[in-house]
């Protein structure tokens, strides 16, 4: 029952986000700021993680390849597939639920407990639109981040395997180009778009409807992280079922 009520309120929130829009010029500025905070500000940490994860995927594949009948190029192939299909879209989104998600929940939650949201409302501004719409738009640019992450991840795999003398450059590249299916990339980006929307809205929901004081802001951030992760993981399963089978 409580779960259904949350879903209902979440849906109402989404409707409210698109009503009574804020003045366009103000909205534009808010969107630019959110792109900077949420997307550009996340490049550093996600690039770092993906560089090393790509390297580890390549190493693991190489170390488990002891059958001489399997070509070394599999290392390139495996790195490409795991990064594009799951690692970049899904794993990085879970990281983002921690980084961007808790930031969104705590910043909106603080505005709630210090009555800044009431202040917006009393001025005749739609706080849902003012606060959440720019985040949704900003995270619509999330696929660009993930595209960069894919390159960096594969680059990390390349560095580890080629410079670690596990495979020659030629063989790695052969593997990278082996049976390339464009639909897999499309699948990855469809997932990314959905995850971006979840990353913008679920943490916003937890911040916007929270009650209490500073202590509760911390708790709300934790709850928000858990639910954002759970939603991403479930959406990942459903989308994979829907798009790849």
């Amino acid at each position: 029952m409580r779960f259904l009520r949350h879903i209902g309120t979440y849906m109402m929130m989404l409707l409210g986000v698109f009503k009574r829009p804020t003045k366009a010029i103000v909205l534009k500025e808010l969107i630019l700021k959110e792109i900077d905070d949420l997307v550009i500000g996340s490049i550093g940490i996600t690039a770092f993680i993906s560089l090393f994860m790509g390297a580890v995927v390549a190493l693991q594949t190489a170390l488990n390849l002891d059958n001489p009948l399997i070509p070394k190029s599999l290392i390139g192939f495996a790195t490409r597939q795991s990064i594009i299909l799951e690692f970049a879209p899904t794993f990085i989104s879970v990281i983002m639920a921690g980084k961007v998600g808790s930031y969104i929940t705590s910043s909106i939650g603080t505005m709630r407990v210090t009555e800044q949201i009431d202040a917006l409302e009393v001025m005749g501004i739609n706080p849902l639109n003012y606060l959440i719409f720019p985040k949704i738009v900003a995270l619509a640019f999330y696929p660009f981040l993930i595209a960069i992450i894919m390159f960096i991840g594969i680059f990390g795999g390349f560095l580890a395997s080629v410079y670690g003398n596990l495979v020659s450059l030629e063989e790695f590249v052969v593997g990278l180009q082996d049976t390339f299916i464009p639909w897999h990339v499309a699948y990855a980006f469809i997932k990314t778009i959905v995850f971006g929307f979840l990353l913008a809205t679920i943490p916003s929901y937890h911040g916007y409807y929270m009650k209490g004081g500073a202590l509760e802001v911390g708790k709300a951030s934790t709850t928000s992280f858990v639910w954002t992760c759970v939603s991403i993981i479930i959406a990942n399963y459903l989308l994979t079922q829907l798009l790849l089978t």
């Binding site: 103000v26 910043s107 009555e115 800044q116 202040a119 409302e121 005749g124």
Partner: protein, 254 residues
């Protein structure tokens, strides 16, 4: 003019407001007084539509708040200024951006015009030179004054102040009170002020309602409040040591 009729509001089965009737006049500083926790803020939030009343009506110059479409309500709110008890400044904006915010949102003023108006108002609240500071970098009393500047910068038709001078030193408190009264008279604003500070009540209580146990226990003006025999009011007024002494002195004919 704002009329409140039969307003009731409770939380989780506990009734906080039990049927309030009150009228707040245009061009006057109207005060709501009462002990801490008596429901003053809840009363105000119902008037602003931040809480949905359980029963009763709020009428803005003849228009019922409860029957307004959301768009109409937004438009009405653009004519309201509100000073929150804990200031509620936007902490991601500088002092100056906070003050200019309503102008930016609702007027066609150019940047330099907005700036000029903001400076003018900041000077009136006695806060020049803090324009570029963030709210977290100034004191609570200064935040309150910035919040008042933000509330009045667009010359609202209705002004609401929740404890405008709690946490201020007596001198600043008087400056704030006088400014609220001046602007109210100057622009013919319907102003509603919550307070439990007897100094303010004396200074600017042009009309007063006294809230107790969820009802209006007394109403009158600052001239009348010191003459009433209403026990609840005298208990409230003379709970302060200073006023107790003043009264004893009066009784002794000094």
């Amino acid at each position: 003019m704002i009329e409140v009729k039969g307003l009731k509001k409770g939380f989780n089965g506990e009734e906080i407001l039990k049927g309030i009737d009150a009228t707040f006049l245009k061009g006057k500083t109207n005060m709501i007084i009462g002990a801490s926790g008596s429901g003053k803020s809840v009363f105000l939030k119902n008037m602003l539509g931040l809480f949905e009343p359980d029963a009763g009506e709020i009428i803005y110059d003849g228009e019922r708040l409860g029957e307004m479409e959301i768009e109409r309500k937004s438009d009405l709110r653009k004519e309201m200024g509100m000073l929150f008890q804990h200031s509620a400044l936007f902490d991601s904006m500088t002092v100056e951006e906070n003050v200019m915010f309503p102008l930016r949102m609702f007027t066609k003023m150019k940047k330099n015009e907005r700036q000029e108006r903001a400076n003018e108002i900041l000077e009136r609240v006695n806060l020049p030179g803090l324009n570029k500071k963030m709210p977290s970098e100034i004191s609570g009393g200064q935040q309150k004054r910035v919040a008042l500047a933000r509330a009045v910068v667009n010359y609202p038709r209705y002004l609401f102040c929740d404890e405008p001078n709690s946490g201020l030193d007596p001198k600043t408190a008087t400056i704030i009170d006088n400014l609220i009264q001046e602007i109210t008279h100057e622009r013919d604003i319907t102003t509603v002020i919550i307070s439990h500070d007897m100094n303010s009540v004396m200074e600017i209580g042009e009309t007063i309602v006294f809230l107790k146990d969820g009802l209006i226990a007394w109403e009158g003006t600052n001239k009348e409040i010191f003459k009433t025999d209403n026990k609840a009011v005298t208990d409230f007024v003379y709970s302060s040591e200073l006023f107790k002494k003043v009264r004893i002195a009066q009784n002794e004919g000094l």
